[in-house]
Protein backbone atom coordinates (compact mmCIF):
# COMPACT_ATOMS: atom_id res chain seq x y z
CA UNK A 1 0.00 0.00 0.00
CA UNK A 2 1.22 3.45 -0.80
CA UNK A 3 0.69 6.21 1.70
CA UNK A 4 -1.11 9.39 0.89
CA UNK A 5 0.72 12.36 2.40
CA UNK A 6 -1.36 14.15 4.98
CA UNK A 7 -1.16 17.49 3.23
CA UNK A 8 -2.80 15.98 0.15
CA UNK A 9 -5.61 14.71 2.35
CA UNK A 10 -5.90 18.15 3.92
CA UNK A 11 -6.19 19.67 0.45
CA UNK A 12 -8.93 17.22 -0.50
CA UNK A 13 -10.68 18.10 2.70
CA UNK A 14 -10.53 21.76 1.73
CA UNK A 15 -11.85 21.01 -1.75
CA UNK A 16 -14.65 19.03 -0.22
CA UNK A 17 -15.61 21.82 2.16
CA UNK A 18 -15.55 24.38 -0.66
CA UNK A 19 -17.78 22.17 -2.82
CA UNK A 20 -19.96 21.53 0.19
CA UNK A 21 -20.35 25.27 0.72
CA UNK A 22 -21.92 25.59 -2.72
CA UNK A 23 -24.28 22.76 -1.80
CA UNK A 24 -25.08 24.50 1.49
CA UNK A 25 -26.14 27.70 -0.26
CA UNK A 26 -28.18 25.72 -2.75
CA UNK A 27 -29.95 23.54 -0.21
CA UNK A 28 -30.60 26.20 2.39
CA UNK A 29 -32.59 28.04 -0.27
CA UNK A 30 -34.51 24.86 -1.02
CA UNK A 31 -35.11 24.37 2.67
CA UNK A 32 -36.49 27.87 3.18
CA UNK A 33 -38.89 27.46 0.27
CA UNK A 34 -40.07 24.09 1.49
CA UNK A 35 -40.42 25.21 5.08
CA UNK A 36 -42.40 28.30 4.18
CA UNK A 37 -44.44 27.25 1.17
CA UNK A 38 -44.44 23.46 1.43
CA UNK A 39 -43.21 23.49 -2.17
CA UNK A 40 -40.46 21.19 -3.39
CA UNK A 41 -38.83 23.37 -5.98
CA UNK A 42 -37.81 21.15 -8.86
CA UNK A 43 -36.52 24.20 -10.72
CA UNK A 44 -34.14 25.06 -7.91
CA UNK A 45 -31.07 24.10 -9.89
CA UNK A 46 -32.53 25.91 -12.89
CA UNK A 47 -32.53 29.12 -10.86
CA UNK A 48 -28.93 28.38 -9.89
CA UNK A 49 -28.16 28.05 -13.62
CA UNK A 50 -29.83 31.41 -14.23
CA UNK A 51 -27.61 32.82 -11.48
CA UNK A 52 -24.54 31.52 -13.29
CA UNK A 53 -25.68 33.13 -16.55
CA UNK A 54 -26.51 36.37 -14.75
CA UNK A 55 -23.00 36.54 -13.35
CA UNK A 56 -21.63 35.83 -16.80
CA UNK A 57 -23.62 38.68 -18.35
CA UNK A 58 -22.86 41.20 -15.61
CA UNK A 59 -19.17 40.31 -15.51
CA UNK A 60 -18.84 40.74 -19.24
CA UNK A 61 -20.58 44.12 -19.00
CA UNK A 62 -18.90 45.54 -15.91
CA UNK A 63 -15.81 43.40 -15.55
CA UNK A 64 -16.40 43.12 -11.82
CA UNK A 65 -17.14 39.70 -10.37
CA UNK A 66 -18.51 40.96 -7.08
CA UNK A 67 -21.04 43.25 -8.74
CA UNK A 68 -21.91 40.13 -10.73
CA UNK A 69 -22.58 38.10 -7.59
CA UNK A 70 -24.86 40.72 -6.09
CA UNK A 71 -26.77 41.35 -9.29
CA UNK A 72 -27.21 37.61 -9.90
CA UNK A 73 -29.04 37.33 -6.60
CA UNK A 74 -31.19 40.37 -7.34
CA UNK A 75 -32.03 39.40 -10.93
CA UNK A 76 -32.92 35.81 -10.09
CA UNK A 77 -34.74 36.91 -6.95
CA UNK A 78 -36.98 39.14 -9.05
CA UNK A 79 -37.58 36.36 -11.58
CA UNK A 80 -38.44 34.13 -8.64
CA UNK A 81 -40.97 36.65 -7.37
CA UNK A 82 -42.74 36.64 -10.71
CA UNK A 83 -42.71 32.85 -10.89
CA UNK A 84 -44.19 32.53 -7.42
CA UNK A 85 -46.72 35.27 -7.96
CA UNK A 86 -47.98 34.24 -11.39
CA UNK A 87 -47.45 30.48 -11.54
CA UNK A 88 -47.32 29.04 -8.04
CA UNK A 89 -49.94 31.10 -6.20
CA UNK A 90 -52.89 29.59 -8.06
CA UNK A 91 -51.81 26.12 -6.93
CA UNK A 92 -51.73 26.61 -3.17
CA UNK A 93 -54.31 24.63 -1.30
CA UNK A 94 -54.71 22.14 -4.14
CA UNK A 95 -52.96 18.82 -4.64
CA UNK A 96 -49.53 19.23 -2.94
CA UNK A 97 -47.85 17.54 -5.89
CA UNK A 98 -48.89 20.25 -8.36
CA UNK A 99 -46.21 22.84 -7.44
CA UNK A 100 -43.57 20.14 -7.77
CA UNK A 101 -44.90 19.26 -11.23
CA UNK A 102 -45.11 22.89 -12.29
CA UNK A 103 -41.53 23.66 -11.30
CA UNK A 104 -40.52 20.48 -13.08
CA UNK A 105 -42.10 21.91 -16.24
CA UNK A 106 -40.03 25.05 -15.77
CA UNK A 107 -36.86 23.01 -15.40
CA UNK A 108 -37.59 21.43 -18.79
CA UNK A 109 -38.50 24.66 -20.59
CA UNK A 110 -36.06 27.25 -19.20
CA UNK A 111 -32.77 25.55 -20.17
CA UNK A 112 -34.02 25.45 -23.76
CA UNK A 113 -34.75 29.16 -23.60
CA UNK A 114 -31.19 29.75 -22.39
CA UNK A 115 -29.91 27.61 -25.28
CA UNK A 116 -31.78 29.83 -27.73
CA UNK A 117 -30.36 33.02 -26.20
CA UNK A 118 -26.81 31.99 -25.30
CA UNK A 119 -26.20 28.97 -27.47
CA UNK A 120 -25.56 25.35 -26.61
CA UNK A 121 -22.01 25.78 -25.42
CA UNK A 122 -21.32 26.90 -21.86
CA UNK A 123 -20.08 30.39 -21.06
CA UNK A 124 -16.84 30.62 -19.08
CA UNK A 125 -16.66 33.09 -16.21
CA UNK A 126 -13.17 34.26 -15.20
CA UNK A 127 -11.96 34.06 -11.67
CA UNK A 128 -11.79 37.51 -10.11
CA UNK A 129 -8.16 38.56 -10.36
CA UNK A 130 -7.59 39.06 -6.66
CA UNK A 131 -8.63 35.45 -5.98
CA UNK A 132 -7.05 33.63 -8.87
CA UNK A 133 -3.79 32.83 -7.05
CA UNK A 134 -2.99 30.02 -4.66
CA UNK A 135 -2.44 30.26 -0.96
CA UNK A 136 0.04 28.09 0.90
CA UNK A 137 -0.73 27.27 4.50
CA UNK A 138 2.53 25.53 5.24
CA UNK A 139 2.62 22.43 3.03
CA UNK A 140 -1.09 22.66 2.26
CA UNK A 141 -1.76 24.49 -1.00
CA UNK A 142 -5.24 25.89 -1.60
CA UNK A 143 -6.55 27.84 -4.58
CA UNK A 144 -7.50 31.28 -3.32
CA UNK A 145 -10.92 31.09 -4.90
CA UNK A 146 -11.92 28.01 -2.88
CA UNK A 147 -10.93 29.76 0.31
CA UNK A 148 -13.06 32.68 -0.82
CA UNK A 149 -16.04 30.35 -1.37
CA UNK A 150 -15.71 29.02 2.15
CA UNK A 151 -15.42 32.43 3.78
CA UNK A 152 -18.14 33.90 1.61
CA UNK A 153 -20.55 31.08 2.44
CA UNK A 154 -19.77 31.50 6.10
CA UNK A 155 -20.65 35.19 5.90
CA UNK A 156 -23.75 34.51 3.80
CA UNK A 157 -25.11 31.82 6.13
CA UNK A 158 -24.42 33.87 9.25
CA UNK A 159 -26.18 36.87 7.71
CA UNK A 160 -29.08 34.65 6.70
CA UNK A 161 -29.27 33.29 10.21
CA UNK A 162 -29.15 36.78 11.74
CA UNK A 163 -31.77 37.96 9.29
CA UNK A 164 -34.14 35.12 10.20
CA UNK A 165 -33.42 35.43 13.92
CA UNK A 166 -33.27 39.17 14.49
CA UNK A 167 -35.01 41.17 11.77
CA UNK A 168 -38.74 41.78 11.82
CA UNK A 169 -39.23 40.27 8.39
CA UNK A 170 -37.11 37.27 9.33
CA UNK A 171 -39.20 36.65 12.40
CA UNK A 172 -42.38 36.84 10.38
CA UNK A 173 -40.92 34.33 7.93
CA UNK A 174 -40.03 31.96 10.73
CA UNK A 175 -43.43 32.37 12.29
CA UNK A 176 -45.12 31.67 8.95
CA UNK A 177 -43.02 28.54 8.60
CA UNK A 178 -44.48 27.29 11.86
CA UNK A 179 -48.07 28.41 11.43
CA UNK A 180 -49.09 30.64 8.56
CA UNK A 181 -52.73 30.81 9.63
CA UNK A 182 -51.70 32.30 12.95
CA UNK A 183 -49.58 34.95 11.24
CA UNK A 184 -52.47 35.74 8.95
CA UNK A 185 -54.74 36.41 11.92
CA UNK A 186 -52.18 38.90 13.20
CA UNK A 187 -53.01 41.02 10.19
CA UNK A 188 -49.89 40.25 8.19
CA UNK A 189 -50.19 39.63 4.48
CA UNK A 190 -48.84 36.09 4.41
CA UNK A 191 -49.22 35.89 0.68
CA UNK A 192 -46.57 38.61 0.30
CA UNK A 193 -44.32 36.84 2.81
CA UNK A 194 -44.49 33.74 0.64
CA UNK A 195 -43.42 35.69 -2.42
CA UNK A 196 -40.50 37.19 -0.53
CA UNK A 197 -39.55 33.82 0.94
CA UNK A 198 -39.53 32.22 -2.50
CA UNK A 199 -37.37 35.07 -3.82
CA UNK A 200 -34.89 34.61 -0.97
CA UNK A 201 -34.79 30.86 -1.60
CA UNK A 202 -34.09 31.09 -5.31
CA UNK A 203 -31.74 34.03 -4.60
CA UNK A 204 -29.64 31.64 -2.53
CA UNK A 205 -29.73 29.16 -5.40
CA UNK A 206 -28.58 31.91 -7.74
CA UNK A 207 -25.73 32.69 -5.36
CA UNK A 208 -24.69 29.04 -5.43
CA UNK A 209 -24.80 28.98 -9.23
CA UNK A 210 -22.98 32.30 -9.54
CA UNK A 211 -20.21 31.39 -7.15
CA UNK A 212 -19.75 28.02 -8.85
CA UNK A 213 -19.64 29.58 -12.31
CA UNK A 214 -15.89 30.32 -12.45
CA UNK A 215 -15.08 26.71 -11.55
CA UNK A 216 -17.46 24.94 -13.91
CA UNK A 217 -18.62 27.72 -16.31
CA UNK A 218 -22.27 28.41 -16.98
CA UNK A 219 -23.98 25.69 -19.05
CA UNK A 220 -27.69 25.33 -19.88
CA UNK A 221 -27.91 21.82 -18.46
CA UNK A 222 -26.12 22.42 -15.17
CA UNK A 223 -29.45 23.01 -13.44
CA UNK A 224 -30.68 19.45 -13.21
CA UNK A 225 -27.51 18.21 -11.57
CA UNK A 226 -27.79 20.99 -9.03
CA UNK A 227 -31.45 20.20 -8.36
CA UNK A 228 -30.48 16.58 -7.88
CA UNK A 229 -27.73 17.55 -5.45
CA UNK A 230 -30.13 19.75 -3.53
CA UNK A 231 -32.56 16.81 -3.29
CA UNK A 232 -29.88 14.50 -1.98
CA UNK A 233 -28.67 17.05 0.55
CA UNK A 234 -32.23 17.66 1.65
CA UNK A 235 -32.93 13.96 2.13
CA UNK A 236 -29.65 13.52 4.00
CA UNK A 237 -30.05 16.61 6.15
CA UNK A 238 -33.77 16.39 6.73
CA UNK A 239 -36.56 18.16 4.91
CA UNK A 240 -37.14 21.79 5.83
CA UNK A 241 -34.28 22.11 8.27
CA UNK A 242 -31.65 24.83 7.81
CA UNK A 243 -29.19 23.04 10.08
CA UNK A 244 -29.72 19.89 8.04
CA UNK A 245 -28.99 21.78 4.83
CA UNK A 246 -25.69 23.02 6.25
CA UNK A 247 -24.44 19.75 7.71
CA UNK A 248 -25.84 17.70 4.81
CA UNK A 249 -24.29 20.04 2.24
CA UNK A 250 -20.83 19.86 3.82
CA UNK A 251 -21.07 16.08 4.25
CA UNK A 252 -22.03 15.51 0.62
CA UNK A 253 -19.30 17.92 -0.51
CA UNK A 254 -16.70 15.91 1.39
CA UNK A 255 -18.05 12.58 0.15
CA UNK A 256 -17.93 13.73 -3.47
CA UNK A 257 -14.46 15.27 -3.15
CA UNK A 258 -12.92 12.21 -1.51
CA UNK A 259 -14.49 9.67 -3.86
CA UNK A 260 -13.35 11.80 -6.79
CA UNK A 261 -9.87 11.55 -5.36
CA UNK A 262 -9.85 7.85 -4.50
CA UNK A 263 -12.10 6.34 -7.19
CA UNK A 264 -12.85 8.94 -9.84
CA UNK A 265 -15.49 6.99 -11.71
CA UNK A 266 -17.62 6.68 -8.60
CA UNK A 267 -17.66 10.41 -7.86
CA UNK A 268 -21.13 11.03 -9.37
CA UNK A 269 -22.64 7.95 -7.76
CA UNK A 270 -21.19 8.41 -4.31
CA UNK A 271 -23.68 10.96 -3.04
CA UNK A 272 -26.59 8.73 -3.98
CA UNK A 273 -25.06 5.83 -2.08
CA UNK A 274 -24.58 8.19 0.83
CA UNK A 275 -28.28 9.07 0.64
CA UNK A 276 -29.36 5.42 0.52
CA UNK A 277 -27.21 4.72 3.55
CA UNK A 278 -28.71 7.58 5.52
CA UNK A 279 -32.20 6.40 4.56
CA UNK A 280 -31.39 2.98 5.93
CA UNK A 281 -29.84 4.19 9.15
CA UNK A 282 -31.80 7.33 9.93
CA UNK A 283 -34.92 7.58 7.75
CA UNK A 284 -35.88 11.13 8.65
CA UNK A 285 -32.44 12.53 7.80
CA UNK A 286 -29.80 13.91 10.13
CA UNK A 287 -31.79 16.90 11.36
CA UNK A 288 -35.33 16.18 10.19
CA UNK A 289 -38.23 16.51 12.56
CA UNK A 290 -40.04 13.24 13.10
CA UNK A 291 -43.20 13.00 11.12
CA UNK A 292 -42.33 15.71 8.64
CA UNK A 293 -40.95 13.35 6.09
Amino acid sequence: MFEIPWNVIAMQFFFGIALGCIFVLLSSGMSIIFGLLDVVNFAHGTFAMLGAYAVFVVVSLTGNFFIGLVSAVIIVGIIGMFVEFILLKPLYGKDPLLPLLLTFGLSVAIPDLIKIIFGLIGKPVNYPEALSGIIALGPVIIPGYRLFIILFTLVAIISLWLFLKKSDLGMIIRASTRDSLMVQTLGINVSRIWTIGFAIGVGLAALAGAIAAPMMSATPDMGVDMTMTAFVVTVVGGLGSLGGAIVGGLLIGLVVAFTAFIAGEYSSVSMYFCMALILLLRPRGLFGEQGRE
Binding site: K94, L102, L106, V108, K115, F231, Y266
Partner: protein, 326 residues
Protein backbone atom coordinates in the same frame (compact mmCIF):
# COMPACT_ATOMS: atom_id res chain seq x y z
CA UNK B 1 -81.59 -6.34 -5.88
CA UNK B 2 -81.57 -2.65 -6.35
CA UNK B 3 -82.85 -1.13 -9.51
CA UNK B 4 -79.93 0.62 -11.14
CA UNK B 5 -81.79 2.02 -14.08
CA UNK B 6 -83.37 4.86 -12.13
CA UNK B 7 -79.99 6.32 -11.51
CA UNK B 8 -77.65 7.05 -14.38
CA UNK B 9 -75.10 9.09 -12.50
CA UNK B 10 -71.64 7.68 -12.99
CA UNK B 11 -68.85 8.14 -10.57
CA UNK B 12 -65.92 10.19 -11.78
CA UNK B 13 -62.95 8.12 -12.95
CA UNK B 14 -65.00 4.98 -13.03
CA UNK B 15 -63.36 2.05 -14.76
CA UNK B 16 -64.63 2.00 -18.33
CA UNK B 17 -67.02 -0.40 -19.92
CA UNK B 18 -65.45 -3.41 -21.64
CA UNK B 19 -66.39 -1.83 -24.95
CA UNK B 20 -63.83 0.92 -24.37
CA UNK B 21 -61.07 -1.65 -23.91
CA UNK B 22 -61.95 -3.56 -27.07
CA UNK B 23 -62.56 -0.33 -28.95
CA UNK B 24 -59.13 1.00 -28.05
CA UNK B 25 -57.47 -2.22 -29.19
CA UNK B 26 -59.47 -2.14 -32.42
CA UNK B 27 -58.34 1.41 -33.17
CA UNK B 28 -54.74 0.53 -32.45
CA UNK B 29 -54.94 -2.24 -35.09
CA UNK B 30 -55.02 0.46 -37.75
CA UNK B 31 -52.56 2.92 -36.26
CA UNK B 32 -49.75 2.07 -38.73
CA UNK B 33 -52.03 3.22 -41.53
CA UNK B 34 -52.17 6.73 -40.10
CA UNK B 35 -48.68 7.33 -38.75
CA UNK B 36 -45.33 5.74 -39.43
CA UNK B 37 -44.96 2.22 -38.04
CA UNK B 38 -41.91 2.99 -35.86
CA UNK B 39 -43.72 5.93 -34.26
CA UNK B 40 -46.78 3.74 -33.71
CA UNK B 41 -44.61 1.07 -32.08
CA UNK B 42 -43.00 3.67 -29.88
CA UNK B 43 -46.44 4.88 -28.82
CA UNK B 44 -47.43 1.36 -27.79
CA UNK B 45 -44.27 0.80 -25.78
CA UNK B 46 -44.63 4.08 -23.93
CA UNK B 47 -48.32 3.40 -23.44
CA UNK B 48 -47.49 0.19 -21.55
CA UNK B 49 -45.02 2.18 -19.46
CA UNK B 50 -47.72 4.81 -18.96
CA UNK B 51 -50.44 2.35 -17.88
CA UNK B 52 -48.22 1.18 -15.03
CA UNK B 53 -47.21 4.68 -14.13
CA UNK B 54 -50.82 5.79 -14.11
CA UNK B 55 -51.71 2.94 -11.77
CA UNK B 56 -49.23 4.43 -9.31
CA UNK B 57 -49.71 8.15 -9.87
CA UNK B 58 -53.27 8.34 -11.09
CA UNK B 59 -54.99 5.60 -9.14
CA UNK B 60 -52.86 5.34 -6.01
CA UNK B 61 -51.76 8.98 -5.84
CA UNK B 62 -48.05 8.26 -5.44
CA UNK B 63 -45.66 10.32 -7.58
CA UNK B 64 -42.45 8.56 -8.52
CA UNK B 65 -40.01 10.83 -10.27
CA UNK B 66 -37.61 8.00 -10.93
CA UNK B 67 -39.51 5.62 -13.13
CA UNK B 68 -36.65 5.72 -15.63
CA UNK B 69 -34.90 3.43 -13.16
CA UNK B 70 -37.43 0.65 -13.82
CA UNK B 71 -37.76 1.33 -17.53
CA UNK B 72 -33.99 1.55 -18.00
CA UNK B 73 -33.23 -1.44 -15.81
CA UNK B 74 -35.77 -3.44 -17.80
CA UNK B 75 -34.16 -2.32 -21.04
CA UNK B 76 -30.65 -3.15 -19.84
CA UNK B 77 -31.59 -6.47 -18.27
CA UNK B 78 -33.20 -7.64 -21.49
CA UNK B 79 -30.35 -6.18 -23.54
CA UNK B 80 -27.66 -7.83 -21.45
CA UNK B 81 -29.47 -11.16 -21.59
CA UNK B 82 -29.80 -10.92 -25.37
CA UNK B 83 -26.26 -9.80 -25.96
CA UNK B 84 -24.20 -11.83 -23.52
CA UNK B 85 -26.35 -14.88 -22.92
CA UNK B 86 -28.01 -15.18 -26.33
CA UNK B 87 -31.27 -15.41 -24.46
CA UNK B 88 -34.55 -16.31 -26.09
CA UNK B 89 -36.95 -13.42 -26.73
CA UNK B 90 -39.23 -14.33 -23.84
CA UNK B 91 -36.40 -15.09 -21.44
CA UNK B 92 -35.01 -11.61 -22.07
CA UNK B 93 -38.40 -9.99 -21.54
CA UNK B 94 -38.93 -11.91 -18.31
CA UNK B 95 -35.49 -10.77 -17.13
CA UNK B 96 -36.47 -7.24 -18.08
CA UNK B 97 -39.58 -7.51 -15.93
CA UNK B 98 -38.11 -9.24 -12.87
CA UNK B 99 -35.11 -7.00 -12.33
CA UNK B 100 -37.12 -3.77 -12.03
CA UNK B 101 -39.62 -5.50 -9.74
CA UNK B 102 -36.82 -6.47 -7.39
CA UNK B 103 -35.50 -2.91 -7.53
CA UNK B 104 -38.99 -1.62 -6.75
CA UNK B 105 -39.14 -3.89 -3.69
CA UNK B 106 -35.87 -2.41 -2.51
CA UNK B 107 -36.78 1.25 -3.13
CA UNK B 108 -40.27 0.66 -1.78
CA UNK B 109 -38.97 -0.87 1.42
CA UNK B 110 -36.67 2.10 1.93
CA UNK B 111 -38.88 4.99 0.95
CA UNK B 112 -42.57 4.21 0.34
CA UNK B 113 -43.55 5.27 3.87
CA UNK B 114 -42.45 8.83 3.14
CA UNK B 115 -44.95 11.49 2.31
CA UNK B 116 -45.54 12.36 -1.34
CA UNK B 117 -42.98 15.00 -2.26
CA UNK B 118 -40.31 13.25 -0.27
CA UNK B 119 -40.86 9.97 -2.09
CA UNK B 120 -40.71 11.82 -5.40
CA UNK B 121 -37.29 13.22 -4.53
CA UNK B 122 -35.91 9.94 -3.27
CA UNK B 123 -37.11 7.94 -6.26
CA UNK B 124 -35.49 10.47 -8.58
CA UNK B 125 -32.22 10.23 -6.67
CA UNK B 126 -32.24 6.44 -6.98
CA UNK B 127 -32.82 6.68 -10.71
CA UNK B 128 -29.85 9.02 -10.99
CA UNK B 129 -27.80 6.54 -9.03
CA UNK B 130 -28.53 3.87 -11.63
CA UNK B 131 -27.81 6.30 -14.45
CA UNK B 132 -24.38 7.20 -13.13
CA UNK B 133 -23.62 3.57 -12.33
CA UNK B 134 -24.34 2.59 -15.92
CA UNK B 135 -22.44 5.63 -17.20
CA UNK B 136 -19.13 4.98 -15.60
CA UNK B 137 -18.41 2.34 -12.94
CA UNK B 138 -20.20 -0.41 -14.86
CA UNK B 139 -19.23 0.71 -18.35
CA UNK B 140 -17.35 -2.53 -18.99
CA UNK B 141 -20.70 -4.29 -19.33
CA UNK B 142 -23.10 -1.44 -20.11
CA UNK B 143 -20.77 0.26 -22.62
CA UNK B 144 -21.34 3.57 -20.83
CA UNK B 145 -22.29 6.56 -22.88
CA UNK B 146 -22.45 4.64 -26.17
CA UNK B 147 -25.27 2.47 -24.91
CA UNK B 148 -25.50 -1.27 -25.25
CA UNK B 149 -25.15 -2.17 -28.92
CA UNK B 150 -24.78 -5.41 -30.92
CA UNK B 151 -28.02 -6.90 -29.76
CA UNK B 152 -29.05 -9.64 -32.19
CA UNK B 153 -32.33 -9.22 -34.08
CA UNK B 154 -35.15 -11.08 -32.40
CA UNK B 155 -37.37 -13.73 -33.82
CA UNK B 156 -40.60 -15.20 -32.57
CA UNK B 157 -40.97 -18.87 -33.55
CA UNK B 158 -38.70 -18.35 -36.57
CA UNK B 159 -40.79 -15.33 -37.44
CA UNK B 160 -38.50 -12.32 -37.70
CA UNK B 161 -39.27 -9.25 -35.63
CA UNK B 162 -36.65 -7.27 -37.51
CA UNK B 163 -39.22 -5.67 -39.80
CA UNK B 164 -41.38 -2.80 -38.50
CA UNK B 165 -44.83 -4.22 -39.16
CA UNK B 166 -44.48 -7.68 -37.57
CA UNK B 167 -42.82 -5.99 -34.62
CA UNK B 168 -45.70 -3.56 -34.31
CA UNK B 169 -48.25 -6.33 -34.14
CA UNK B 170 -46.15 -8.31 -31.70
CA UNK B 171 -46.02 -5.26 -29.41
CA UNK B 172 -49.72 -4.67 -30.00
CA UNK B 173 -50.59 -8.15 -28.74
CA UNK B 174 -48.69 -7.41 -25.54
CA UNK B 175 -50.26 -3.94 -25.28
CA UNK B 176 -53.71 -5.49 -25.63
CA UNK B 177 -52.93 -8.00 -22.87
CA UNK B 178 -51.72 -5.21 -20.61
CA UNK B 179 -54.68 -3.00 -21.41
CA UNK B 180 -57.02 -5.83 -20.51
CA UNK B 181 -55.03 -6.65 -17.36
CA UNK B 182 -55.13 -3.03 -16.25
CA UNK B 183 -58.86 -3.07 -16.71
CA UNK B 184 -59.12 -6.26 -14.66
CA UNK B 185 -56.92 -4.85 -11.92
CA UNK B 186 -59.03 -1.71 -11.70
CA UNK B 187 -62.19 -3.79 -11.22
CA UNK B 188 -60.61 -6.09 -8.65
CA UNK B 189 -60.90 -5.52 -4.92
CA UNK B 190 -57.30 -4.32 -4.97
CA UNK B 191 -58.02 -1.82 -7.72
CA UNK B 192 -61.02 -0.49 -5.84
CA UNK B 193 -58.83 -0.18 -2.81
CA UNK B 194 -56.24 1.85 -4.75
CA UNK B 195 -58.87 4.37 -5.74
CA UNK B 196 -60.25 4.63 -2.22
CA UNK B 197 -56.73 5.07 -1.01
CA UNK B 198 -56.07 7.97 -3.38
CA UNK B 199 -59.30 9.61 -2.30
CA UNK B 200 -58.66 9.40 1.42
CA UNK B 201 -55.62 7.61 2.75
CA UNK B 202 -56.50 8.31 6.39
CA UNK B 203 -59.93 6.80 6.07
CA UNK B 204 -58.63 3.73 4.27
CA UNK B 205 -56.36 3.26 7.23
CA UNK B 206 -59.25 3.64 9.67
CA UNK B 207 -61.08 0.92 7.74
CA UNK B 208 -58.24 -1.39 8.66
CA UNK B 209 -56.12 -1.29 5.52
CA UNK B 210 -52.37 -1.31 5.78
CA UNK B 211 -51.81 1.66 3.51
CA UNK B 212 -48.04 1.25 3.33
CA UNK B 213 -48.56 -2.19 1.85
CA UNK B 214 -51.05 -0.82 -0.69
CA UNK B 215 -48.53 1.75 -1.91
CA UNK B 216 -45.80 -0.86 -1.95
CA UNK B 217 -47.78 -3.30 -4.12
CA UNK B 218 -48.81 -0.52 -6.43
CA UNK B 219 -45.17 0.46 -6.90
CA UNK B 220 -44.09 -3.10 -7.63
CA UNK B 221 -46.92 -3.66 -10.13
CA UNK B 222 -46.01 -0.40 -11.76
CA UNK B 223 -42.40 -1.56 -12.06
CA UNK B 224 -43.69 -4.66 -13.87
CA UNK B 225 -45.18 -2.47 -16.59
CA UNK B 226 -42.11 -0.23 -16.76
CA UNK B 227 -39.77 -3.19 -17.03
CA UNK B 228 -41.88 -4.82 -19.73
CA UNK B 229 -41.91 -1.56 -21.69
CA UNK B 230 -38.17 -1.23 -21.26
CA UNK B 231 -37.54 -4.76 -22.52
CA UNK B 232 -39.80 -4.18 -25.53
CA UNK B 233 -37.95 -0.95 -26.19
CA UNK B 234 -34.73 -2.96 -26.42
CA UNK B 235 -36.33 -5.38 -28.88
CA UNK B 236 -37.66 -2.44 -30.89
CA UNK B 237 -34.46 -0.38 -31.04
CA UNK B 238 -31.99 -3.26 -31.18
CA UNK B 239 -29.84 -1.41 -28.69
CA UNK B 240 -30.12 0.18 -25.25
CA UNK B 241 -29.38 3.90 -25.13
CA UNK B 242 -28.10 5.27 -21.83
CA UNK B 243 -30.95 7.79 -21.94
CA UNK B 244 -33.39 5.03 -20.92
CA UNK B 245 -32.07 5.67 -17.40
CA UNK B 246 -31.90 9.46 -17.74
CA UNK B 247 -34.01 11.68 -15.49
CA UNK B 248 -35.76 13.16 -18.53
CA UNK B 249 -37.20 9.72 -19.29
CA UNK B 250 -38.91 9.79 -15.90
CA UNK B 251 -39.91 13.39 -16.50
CA UNK B 252 -41.33 12.58 -19.93
CA UNK B 253 -43.46 9.83 -18.41
CA UNK B 254 -44.76 12.27 -15.82
CA UNK B 255 -45.62 14.81 -18.52
CA UNK B 256 -47.34 12.23 -20.72
CA UNK B 257 -49.48 10.95 -17.89
CA UNK B 258 -50.53 14.41 -16.71
CA UNK B 259 -51.18 15.47 -20.30
CA UNK B 260 -53.42 12.47 -20.99
CA UNK B 261 -55.15 12.68 -17.64
CA UNK B 262 -53.92 10.90 -14.54
CA UNK B 263 -56.34 8.49 -13.01
CA UNK B 264 -58.29 7.92 -16.22
CA UNK B 265 -58.22 4.62 -18.03
CA UNK B 266 -57.37 5.90 -21.50
CA UNK B 267 -55.29 8.81 -20.20
CA UNK B 268 -51.86 7.22 -20.63
CA UNK B 269 -52.67 6.04 -24.15
CA UNK B 270 -53.93 9.45 -25.21
CA UNK B 271 -51.15 11.29 -23.38
CA UNK B 272 -48.42 9.16 -24.90
CA UNK B 273 -49.89 9.48 -28.38
CA UNK B 274 -50.31 13.25 -28.25
CA UNK B 275 -46.94 13.80 -26.61
CA UNK B 276 -44.93 11.69 -29.04
CA UNK B 277 -46.80 13.12 -31.99
CA UNK B 278 -46.13 16.69 -30.79
CA UNK B 279 -42.51 15.88 -30.07
CA UNK B 280 -42.03 14.43 -33.52
CA UNK B 281 -43.75 17.33 -35.23
CA UNK B 282 -42.05 20.11 -33.27
CA UNK B 283 -38.61 18.59 -33.60
CA UNK B 284 -39.02 18.75 -37.38
CA UNK B 285 -39.27 22.54 -37.07
CA UNK B 286 -36.86 23.25 -34.23
CA UNK B 287 -34.46 21.26 -32.06
CA UNK B 288 -35.74 23.26 -29.07
CA UNK B 289 -38.86 21.17 -28.54
CA UNK B 290 -38.32 20.99 -24.80
CA UNK B 291 -39.16 24.68 -24.51
CA UNK B 292 -42.54 24.05 -26.10
CA UNK B 293 -43.28 20.83 -24.30
CA UNK B 294 -42.24 22.29 -20.96
CA UNK B 295 -44.39 25.38 -21.46
CA UNK B 296 -47.40 23.35 -22.57
CA UNK B 297 -46.96 21.21 -19.49
CA UNK B 298 -46.86 24.27 -17.21
CA UNK B 299 -50.03 25.56 -18.86
CA UNK B 300 -51.78 22.21 -18.34
CA UNK B 301 -50.86 22.15 -14.66
CA UNK B 302 -52.31 25.63 -14.25
CA UNK B 303 -55.39 25.36 -16.43
CA UNK B 304 -56.32 21.68 -16.87
CA UNK B 305 -54.76 19.65 -14.08
CA UNK B 306 -57.10 16.82 -15.07
CA UNK B 307 -55.39 16.48 -18.45
CA UNK B 308 -57.17 15.66 -21.69
CA UNK B 309 -59.21 12.65 -20.59
CA UNK B 310 -59.78 14.03 -17.09
CA UNK B 311 -61.32 17.18 -18.54
CA UNK B 312 -63.43 15.17 -20.97
CA UNK B 313 -64.70 12.93 -18.16
CA UNK B 314 -65.52 15.94 -15.98
CA UNK B 315 -67.53 17.47 -18.80
CA UNK B 316 -69.43 14.23 -19.37
CA UNK B 317 -70.11 13.81 -15.65
CA UNK B 318 -71.30 17.41 -15.37
CA UNK B 319 -73.61 16.88 -18.34
CA UNK B 320 -75.06 13.72 -16.84
CA UNK B 321 -75.57 15.46 -13.52
CA UNK B 322 -77.44 18.27 -15.19
CA UNK B 323 -79.61 15.88 -17.12
CA UNK B 324 -80.33 13.74 -14.08
CA UNK B 325 -81.32 16.68 -11.91
CA UNK B 326 -83.82 17.91 -14.48
Amino acid sequence: MVDNSTNTIQQLHAPPKPLVVYGAIFVLLFLPLVISTPLATEILIWAIFGMGFNLLLGYTGVLSFGHAAYFGLGAYSAGLAFRYLDAHLFVGIVAGILAPMILACFIGALAIRKRGVYFAMISLAFAQMLYFLALSPLKEITRGEDGLTHIPAMALFSFSLGKPLPLYYFVLVITAIMLYSTWRILQSPFGKLLQAFRENEERAKACGYNTTLVKFFSLVISAFYAGLAGALNTVYLGYVPLTTLFWLTSGTMVMMTILGGKGTFLGPLVGVGVFLFLQNTISLITPRWELFVGSIFVAIILLFPGGIMGTVEEKIAAYRMRRASK
